[in-house]
């Protein structure tokens, strides 16, 4: 089952800004211990944010923490991406359940 992350982005400049969200980009809960899964983008997204507006984008995501509950609530965009390629929820969970020594 996939989920959708809705992001509202404000561009206060007078020119459009190109923006990218790479496949595997991780979005996280805003606090520890919520018990909800964090999520990762299922593909690359490239879009422009028009000048002087608040622009909404919708990103399809999959869950990365199999043992936690379904994602919900507010998120942060993180400085991390999933480091390996994946094409399904099971494949992503398998990757995340493997520890690299």
């Amino acid at each position: 089952m996939s989920w959708t992350v809705e992001i509202s982005i404000k561009n206060t400049s007078s020119s459009k800004l190109p923006c990218r969200i790479k496949k595997g980009q991780v979005f996280e809960n805003k606090k520890v211990g919520t018990g909800f899964q964090n999520v990762a983008a299922v593909k690359d997204y490239i879009f422009d944010i028009p000048p002087n507006t608040t622009h909404k984008v919708h990103i399809e995501v999959l869950c990365i923490n199999q043992r936690l509950a379904a994602p919900q609530g507010f998120l942060n965009v993180t400085s991390f991406a999933v480091s390996k390629n994946f094409s399904s929820q099971d494949e992503l969970w398998n990757i995340m359940n493997t520890i690299n020594q």
Partner: protein
């Protein structure tokens, strides 16, 4: 917690929709109940529910109680009525989901509390700025905690992102990346939510 106000504000916005709807339609609901020969006791109980606190005075617990009453109580009469795009029942359920944010930490075990306390210190250099909607620390902590539960090692290990199949974005390669644009304040993220 520093970001609790975000959840509180969202609950309050939803509560305001329910409050305003009943202010405008409460009397019509009582008339409808009378037409359907609802008992005087029920009508009186509904009338008392209409005295719900004003949004600017309501506590979190009072808003949660009203949401509960919309889902399964005297205010359920109007569960399917719409306030804006959503039914009152959907709004109330959304409030209850958001309220979980305030309850959830009480469900953490002692073991989890100890882990989270240490992990927040170990990973304190990682990004976490809830006002800007940017982070990294929480995903790293949650994913490491999962790895800890999967391993046979009883000692707490705080792994590097690479061990957990997480790679860092590199600013030089990612100058148009959403995370860096937000951290560099080229853009302002005003909300990120996840939905099914």
């Amino acid at each position: 917690m520093e970001h609790d106000h975000i959840y509180f504000d969202e609950i309050l916005n939803n509560y305001r929709l329910i409050f305003n709807w009943h202010q405008e339609n409460g009397l019509a609901t009582i008339n409808r109940m009378m037409e359907r020969e609802s008992s005087p006791d029920n009508i009186e109980r509904y009338r008392r529910e209409l005295e719900m606190p004003k949004p600017e005075q309501a506590t979190l617990e009072e808003m949660f109680r009203v949401a509960n009453t919309v889902v399964a109580g005297m205010l359920e009469w109007n569960y399917g009525e719409k306030a804006g795009d959503l039914m009152l029942g959907e709004i109330a359920r959304q409030m209850m989901r958001l309220y979980d944010h305030f309850k959830k930490p009480e469900n953490n075990s002692d073991e989890e509390f100890r882990y989270f306390e240490r992990a927040e210190n170990v990973y304190k250099e990682e990004w976490l700025n809830n006002e800007k909607y940017i982070g990294g620390r929480i995903a790293l902590i949650d994913t490491n905690w999962e790895a800890q539960k999967l391993s046979d090692n009883d000692n707490l290990l705080f792994r590097e992102p690479e061990e957990l199949n997480l790679s860092r974005l590199h600013e030089e390669d990612e100058e148009t990346n959403l995370f860096y644009m937000a951290s560099n304040e080229e853009i302002i993220i005003t909300n990120i939510t996840v939905k099914q």
